[in-house]
């Protein structure tokens, strides 16, 4: 597609459940980023992929969060044993060697 695509757009789940959020970057973009934006805050960095490997995962809050990008394109952010504090908008961005980040419209996660 023309832009970064994220699915689902909205996800409501119950505390303790497992959630997967998908990001389809712009074709040819080698770098992919996940950010988390809580209500009333700016986005916070979670993880950065260069190709298939996680080059920097220093922003993942704990071991319940994990992300993969097995073929260097689509990425999935996985959250285990969700907690109410995980409720946020999860933004994905991709970039080419020019460096400009292009963002998707995010996935809003609500944990009840």
């Amino acid at each position: 597609g023309a832009g970064v695509s994220q699915t689902p757009s909205n996800k409501v789940t119950e505390k303790g459940k497992y959630v997967e959020l998908r990001c389809d970057p712009i074709s040819g973009h080698t770098a992919l980023y996940w950010y988390r934006q809580s209500l009333g805050q700016g986005p916070e960095f979670l993880i950065y992929f260069q190709g298939t490997g996680a080059a920097d995962d220093s922003g993942l809050p704990n071991d319940r969060f994990f992300a993969v990008r097995p073929e260097g394109s689509v990425s999935t952010l996985k959250i285990q044993r969700t907690e109410r504090g995980d409720s946020a908008v999860y933004l994905c961005a991709s970039s080419s060697i020019t460096g400009e980040l292009f963002f998707g419209e995010g996935s809003r996660l609500t944990v009840l």
Binding site: A31, Y35, Q41, P43, Y48, A55, S58, V89, L91
Partner: protein, 116 residues
């Protein structure tokens, strides 16, 4: 660690007027980039303007310009001839340019409303 501060949570302006959004940052890095992003209700972050710290000349993109004061660590955004479509959240952001992880550090944002 880098921090970005946007002290004005909200501003409003009349259509066609000029408005300035303020941003300060803290870093010990000498090479970095600064950005202003716009986030409309669609949630998509859209790049407004970018400034390389090594450049003394302030960046300009059509109606948008910045006032970059490196010594003061200040990076304000000026929007001229405000339009209704400029209504959005605006985020100031910082990125190191050391060739490592190109992660952005964002401020808390500022809600701008342009009134007809």
């Amino acid at each position: 660690a880098q921090t970005v501060t946007q002290s004005q949570p909200e501003m409003s302006v009349q259509e066609a007027e000029t408005v300035t959004l303020s941003c300060t940052y803290d870093t010990s890095e000498s090479n970095y980039y600064l950005f202003w992003y716009k986030q409309p209700p669609s949630r998509q972050m859209i790049l407004v303007i970018r400034q390389e710290a090594y450049k003394q000349q302030n960046a300009t993109e059509n109606r948008f310009s910045v006032n970059f004061q490196k010594a003061a660590k200040s990076f304000s955004l000026k929007i001229s001839d405000s339009q209704l479509g400029d209504t959005a959240m605006y985020f100031c952001a910082f990125m190191k340019s050391d060739g490592g992880s190109e992660k952005l550090v964002f401020g808390k944002g500022m809600k701008l409303t342009v009134n007809p």
